[in-house]
């Protein structure tokens, strides 16, 4: 069975489908109605499979994709909110711990992971793909880290990969939750390749035939189907200088006023949208996210995840702020899209309030995220780095 060249589907776990070919294993996220949002069960299954495949000498390559119009729209936040409502935020913490460990395993994985991002890639979906070696975008890709609008912050190792985007693009993407298309993902380095969706089946077929773990080989296979897409005229990638001028500022307040100065100099829809998304987001989220990305820039992926775990536990515990619950209410449950953040203004949030999120959670049973020992510390997942701009 295992060595059979034709694809064979294992249906034992329907939220993650597995196709086995010669040396490749294709994992398909299969909750299309929920846009493949990562459930607890999916995360456990993925982790199990990744660990098993790393040790299995017959497996050389992993392909990850989604069923339907999304790759993966994020973590299953509604389940987490349910846990918290039932009074057990620690169940939520367990979910995040497992998800972050999966992110860490992917970031340090010995074999190449090819993620086919033919659709929505948001939040947890980004965490399940960007850490891997190859990320293939298509004309259907929509990438975003929308957490600040939800009273959360870009997690799943985003403080690592966002901070490594060119110049201050990471701050822009992480704070505003801006949506990027496939061309922009490639340009910014979030994607390593752009393949038109029409050619995906050929690409997958070629990968299924491959019997190598060598990244150079895999890359050259994907290259064969790749195209150079055009950036749309309004693309944020063509505004790196403005982004640089504004998002390099020390504080969120300074970023906003720099943007407002730009807006005064020149009427521009893009700047207006950017300012509006910052004003709509949770002020607390913005402040902790900015600091998170800035700290992440100077640290390894493991340290980033440990810190994000501390922060997500603070968010769920709800002692420092309840913005996450309010965000979920306004966006996911009541859908009135009118969250009432508390504190409601940036200037009401002091440094010491922000600092609290970075400290250990005071709770007898709580402890820092324990990452598994890994023997393959790959260092930078982003192709483009600062230099290509």
């Amino acid at each position: 069975m295992a060595s059979c060249t034709s694809a064979s589907v294992k249906a034992q776990d329907d939220q993650v489908l597995v196709e086995e070919t010669l040396s490749a294993r294709t994992l398909i996220l299969n909750r299309p109605r929920q846009l493949n949002a990562l459930s607890n069960q999916m995360v456990s299954r993925l982790l199990e499979l990744f660990i098993a495949y790393e040790e299995d000498p017959n497996v050389k390559l992993l392909v990850l994709k989604g069923n339907g119009r999304a790759f993966c729209a994020g973590g299953d936040v509604s389940a987490v909110v349910r846990y918290i409502r039932e009074g057990d935020w620690k169940l939520g913490a367990k979910f995040f711990a497992k998800e972050y460990i999966l992110n860490y395993v992917m970031a340090t994985y010995a074999k190449p992971q090819v993620s086919i991002l033919n659709g929505i890639v948001m939040g947890g979906g980004a965490g399940a793909s960007i850490h891997g070696r190859f990320r293939v975008a298509t004309e259907n890709s929509v990438f975003a880290m929308p957490e600040t609008a939800l009273g959360l912050f870009p997690d799943v190792g985003a403080s690592y990969f966002l901070s490594r985007l060119p110049r201050f693009f990471g701050e822009y993407v992480g704070l505003t939750g801006a949506k990027l298309d496939g061309a922009e993902m490639l340009e910014s380095g979030l994607a390593t390749h752009f393949v038109p969706s029409a050619k995906l089946s050929l690409l997958e077929e070629a990968l299924h035939k491959e019997d190598s773990s060598d990244p150079v080989t895999i890359s050259s296979i994907i290259d064969k189907y790749s195209q150079q897409p055009y950036l749309k005229e309004q693309s944020a990638c063509l505004r790196l200088d403005v982004i640089d001028r504004c998002f390099s500022r020390r504080t969120v307040e300074e970023i906003l006023s720099a943007l407002e100065r730009e807006a005064m100099n020149k009427a521009d829809a893009w700047i207006t949208t950017t300012i509006q998304s910052l004003k709509k987001a949770s002020p607390t989220s913005l402040k902790i996210s900015l600091r998170l990305i800035r700290e992440g820039r100077l640290q390894g992926v493991g340290q980033c995840l440990v810190r994000e775990y501390r922060m997500v536990c603070h968010v769920m515990q709800g002692k420092l702020s309840k913005d996450f619950f309010e965000g979920c209410r306004a966006i996911l449950l009541d859908k009135d899209k009118n969250p009432k953040w508390e504190p409601s203004k940036l200037e009401l949030i002091s440094n010491s309030m922000v600092e609290q999120y970075f400290l250990k959670v005071v709770d007898e049973e709580w402890e820092d995220l324990k990452l598994p020992a890994r023997f393959h510390l790959r260092i930078c997942c982003c192709k483009a780095l600062s230099i290509s701009f």
């Binding site: 150079v216 020390r250 800035r294 930078c380």
Partner: protein, 680 residues
């Protein structure tokens, strides 16, 4: 046994050969990848952290950690800071392969970038300790990227700006400070001359007052009076502070400071000014050092920086300070800030080199000690530990000393000026000498890799060498320390009062006694360590005072007696400095609560103290330690090395220098040097 080894050896060789054959270049796929005989293993995988490195970093950096990290990130992300990818990692460092002119241009572009990001907001117009601390933190971080950049900022803000702030009065502040902060004007500081450096009072530039026009007239009377080494003068500066003798109605009132414009807004050199370039230097080529000659340059009367003395419009000299010595001392006050920042930045340079050399020594192996066994990690050789770890301990000690120096600078009062002068002189000399020594040792410890500019360590030697000379030659500064100690000694004797200040209070106590048996516990006790240091300082001060008075008794002048006593003066200066540094270490240690962090600090403190004892021959020469004691000290240092070894990675990680600011040999040097990383 022998046959077993030989068969293993055969197997080993066969394996290597097979590897070579299997990966013949005709194979299509990445031929060199599979024959990697060695692989890089990140030290994080096998080294453990016994304490929280961020806690340690707080202790070392002391202030504005988040601001520092923001600035590190700002530089790492900007192309003006020349990011280069090596082995999948980004490193930022100036391109030292550029010509001198290009490097100077890049320094200014970097300043413009930082200016636009608001880094310098409030550096001159702001008030308060918080702002002052942030300014120092930023300057330190900038210096970690490039010494030229921090020197260029230092000249503009601390020397030019500082002179206006401290020697000038309101009219100068209003006119110049804001424009300086926004770089509407670019300042420099013309003090040194070809013929006079440390001896500022001997400078030959002359200024007279013309009461008919209400102007000062500045002249360079001879070639040795040309202003020399003036940072910023060769290309960019529009204005300068001029130090000159002030001659009023034929009487010399001593050295005074004036403001003169030397270039117009378009960068053209002004009339009556001549400027030449100091040319290419062994380092610091991003700073445009120049030479200036003044030819009857006329400046308005208001351009005299008049906080100490003034000239009335009808040409009368007015000064609240009658004593010219005191007047002159008041003029040198801004140089103290320079010494503080230099001392602190020297230690950051040592941190770069130690973080690099120690990280490398935790990943590079050489020689097997068993046949066919794995090669040994460099830092597992006791000899390698002995080379690097005492320098690491000293760097820790001097970090605390730097923090203490900053504190007394920030909290200075007129009463504390003497202490500040003596401590800043001693620490500037000691810390910059330590840096040069550390850089050389680390360069050698990195072997050939240390010679590559991209790995920073070797190159920093030429970039930082100047620190032992500018803002006071180290030897001259150390003589001033001993001179000040002697003056303190003489005054105390005369007044028959106990010692007070400069940390000399221990002279009032009974003489410390060194036990004849030095056990490990004794050697590691602060009581023994500080006792031995105080004993040395006390005895050397007594000896020095006795020698000077002997010379004087023979009819030598005080000044000449001091010159003759140079050997004891040097020993005494070192003794003072070492003791003061040890005290700052003990104070820092005392702020930490019991736990792993304190334990490792105590190991480092002992290593610092015992290494100093071992290195200074005065301990044996004057018998503070017996030969048996000295042997025990030496043995203990070796033991300490093996105890510090497990913490080496955590100790350099605690420096908080982001990876982009170290060189490729600090990380995956195999990837960084692989064929695929070569630009084909």
């Amino acid at each position: 046994m022998a046959s077993q080894y030989s068969s293993e050896r055969t197997w080993f060789r066969t394996r290597i050969l097979t590897n070579h054959f299997l990966s013949s270049p005709s194979q299509s796929v990445s031929p060199l990848e599979s024959n990697a005989c060695l692989s890089y293993s990140p030290p994080e995988l096998h080294e453990s952290y016994d304490f929280y490195t961020n806690e340690m970093r707080k202790l070392l950096d002391m202030h504005n950690i988040e601001d520092r990290d923001w600035l590190f990130g700002l530089m790492r992300q900007s192309k003006v800071f020349n990011p280069q990818e090596k082995g999948g990692r980004v490193y930022v460092a100036p391109d030292y392969n550029q010509s001198m002119e290009q490097q100077r241009e890049m320094t200014m572009r970097r300043i413009a970038y930082l200016l636009e990001r608001g880094i310098f907001n409030g550096w001159l117009t702001g008030k308060g300790l918080e702002l002052e601390m942030k300014k120092f933190a930023f300057l330190e971080v900038v210096g970690i990227f490039d010494h030229s950049l921090s020197v260029k900022l230092g000249v503009h803000f601390f020397l030019w700006g500082g002179a206006i702030k401290f020697f000038g009065t309101e009219r100068h502040h209003d006119k110049w400070l804001r424009d300086t902060e926004t770089y509407a004007i670019k300042g420099c500081f013309a003090m040194s001359e070809l013929g006079h450096g440390s001896n500022v009072r001997g400078i030959e530039t002359v200024t007279v007052y013309d009461s008919k026009t209400g102007e000062f007239v500045i002249n360079t009377p001879c070639e040795s009076a040309q202003k020399y080494w003036i940072g910023g003068a060769a290309n960019h500066a529009t204005h300068t502070i001029v130090f000159s003798q002030l001659n009023i109605n034929g009487s010399n009132e001593g050295v005074h400071a004036f403001i003169a414009q030397i270039r117009d807004a378009d960068g053209n050199i002004c009339p009556n000014i001549r400027i030449a370039d100091c040319g290419h230097k062994i380092g610091l080529n991003g700073v445009d050092n120049g030479r200036i000659w003044f030819n009857n340059l006329r400046i308005p009367r208001e351009n005299l920086l008049n906080s100490v003395a003034d000239v009335s419009s009808d040409g009368k000299y007015l000064s609240a300070i009658k004593d010219p010595d005191q007047r002159f001392a008041a003029f040198l006050a801004p140089l103290t800030s320079g010494r503080v920042t230099i001392a602190v930045s020297a230690i950051y340079s040592s941190k770069i080199s130690l973080a690099t050399a120690i990280r490398y020594s935790l990943t590079r192996r050489a020689f097997s000690i068993t046949p066919n066994g794995p090669e040994v990690l460099l830092l597992d050789y006791p000899s390698h530990q002995r080379r690097l770890l005492p320098l690491l301990a000293k760097t820790y000690a001097m970090s605390f000393a730097g923090n203490y120096l900053k504190m007394i600078y920030w909290k200075r009062t007129p009463e504390s000026n003497k202490t500040l002068h003596v401590v800043s002189s001693a620490f500037k000399a000691t810390l910059t000498w330590h840096n040069m020594r550390t850089l050389q040792e680390c360069r050698e410890a990195c072997g050939g890799q240390g010679l590559k500019t991209e790995n920073r360590v070797g190159h920093l030697k030429s970039e930082y060498d100047v620190q032992t000379t500018f803002e006071g030659d180290n030897n001259v500064l150390m003589q001033q320390v001993s001179k000040a100690l002697l003056a303190e000694y003489v005054a105390t004797q005369k007044k028959k009062k106990p010692f007070k200040g400069l940390g000399l209070e221990h002279m009032n106590e009974p003489c410390p006694i060194i036990p004849s048996q030095l056990t490990s516990t004794v050697l590691r006790s602060t009581q023994f360590q500080i006792g031995a240091f105080c004993l040395r300082e006390r005895d050397l001060l007594n000896r020095f005072a006795a020698e000077i008075s002997q010379h004087q008794a023979k009819g030598e002048s005080k000044e000449y007696a001091f010159i003759l006593g140079y050997q004891l003066a040097e020993d005494l200066g070192r003794a003072f400095s070492d003791r003061a540094i040890l005290q700052t270490f003990m104070e820092a240690e005392a702020t930490v609560s019991v736990g792993p962090l304190k334990n490792v600090l105590s190991l480092l403190r002992s290593m610092y103290a015992l290494t100093c004892m071992e290195e200074d021959a005065a301990f044996l020469r004057y018998g503070y330690l017996s030969t048996k004691n000295a042997a025990a000290v030496r043995k203990e240092v070796t033991k300490l090395c093996s105890e510090v070894r497990p913490h080496a990675l955590a100790l350099v990680s605690s420096f908080g220098i982001p990876d982009a600011f170290l060189g490729p040999i600090a990380y995956n040097w195999i990837d960084a040097n692989s064929w695929s990383s070569v630009k084909h």
